[in-house]
Amino acid sequence: MTATDFTERDERYQIRVRNLHKSFGKHHVLRGIDLDIERHKINIIIGGSGQGKSVLCKHLMGLLKPDEGHIFVDGLDIVPLNEVEMNGVRRKFGMLFQQAALFDSMTVEENVSFPLREHTNLPRNKIQEMVAEKLAILGLHNAEKKMSSELSGGMAKRVGLARAIVLEPEILIYDEPTTGLDPIATKNVDNMIAETAQHLGVTSIVISHDMASTFRIADRIFMLQGGRIVANGTPEEILDTTNEDLRVFVETSGTVKFHGQPSMGGAV
């Protein structure tokens, strides 16, 4: 498959990854990832800890450079871009980090308004208005003046998401959004992802190993194992799978039941 096939903007797929390799020292983490992220859908990447999910996501935004392979965002290969050129592409993205990664020296308002202050020339009152609006959408009222270090885990994630969506990106990446949250907060975060996708029409990419969340909100599920995408499909197709690794992974969580009997002889 040549790289030139993907240099056109594709209406169905927004991001296309081909043969992505990445090593850290002797540790070969990504071993040829092929991935197609659907536009305006919630795409969830599942897989065990240390399988390279976060590493893959960092590649999608150009935070890491692959050793080999291509990443096309709306037909543009971002791998050869330098940091300055990359900043143009990054304006399409918003990212919610695992621990929210709020700037702890700033208040909630300063955090959320940061992208606006950096990238727009809007007057101060307009910025305040936009920040209040985004915080209200996410159910955070009167939290503007709080320091980000005072927030609980769930609230910090909401503020992190507010900061990620304030410039209205086309693509949102969530790095394990429900890790470390109680079941109620987890459900709230799930709703938040689903509603954000619906309201803003963004392409969502969620990294998760929370099966309950995954099957609640996913339009499409990818399983990453051993540095490759070993399975992909809609939630229904995943439940029909005969791939042993996938069955074990999903079944162990105890949250969903497979259709049909598990096979005994390994994959396929």
Binding site: Q99, N232, G233, T234
Partner: protein, 295 residues
Amino acid sequence: MDKPSVPASVEAKKTERPTKRSTKRPARWVTRVDDLWHQVFGPLFKGFETFGQILVLTGQAFYWLFRRPFRWREYLVALDFIGVGSLSIIVLVGLFTGAAFSLQVTDTFRTFGMESYIGAMVTLALVRELAPVLTALMVTARAGSAMATELGSMRITEQIDALRTMAVSPVQYLVTPRIVASIIMMPLLTMVFSFAGMVGAYLVAVILLEVDHGLFISETEWMVDTYDIKIGLIKAAIFGWVLSSVGCHQGISAAGGAKGVGLATTRAVVYSSVAVLMLDYFVGDILLIIYESPS
């Protein structure tokens, strides 16, 4: 909902192909020699690598200095933290350094009847050596360590990655203001240190040990040239670059949780202090050659 082009099971089969990389192992003696080589020269290479990374970081910092946007506020905050924040400690240390120095030399100089040179001697030592070096060590302990800790904890809590995702260069936003502020503030602090040291020396020598006021001042004026002060200030600016680039580099490349941040801070202080003391000799030598003492 769209049907995928390939069902899950077929996709699974397709992606299971061997990696391109060769898995053939080298001969045993080759690995042995390789290990030995790394054990002997590893630390040396690591040192060169760190040095190179610091130079690259400095290069990036100056590249971003001239690009928009210019965040004046970040520069002011850094100038305030490094300069104004260190002022009281510099005055205090300067005062006592001068005082102790003059206390120790007064008796000795008296024995040889060279009382009149005390002021000149202390001032020369201060402006050329003691002020830039001790100021650099104090600023390293205060600001260099803070840079490593602050940037290090931003690194491990992914705040630096977050900056990049928002299309903001962490080097431009965090490193450039700190390096620039240190290069500007170090010479100013050195001047303050020298002045405080001279006051301390004067208090001890003239007020306490009854050296003649006129001799103290006039010999100092006669012996100390602007060239001596210039040497001290150039050194101070270089030390400002060293301590800030080392502090920022250690912080920005920290890894491994709270322990990693602690290690980065320790390294920042140790590397900067050693580099300052070593560079002091070499820079001093080079400046002496360039300016060739007029006396």
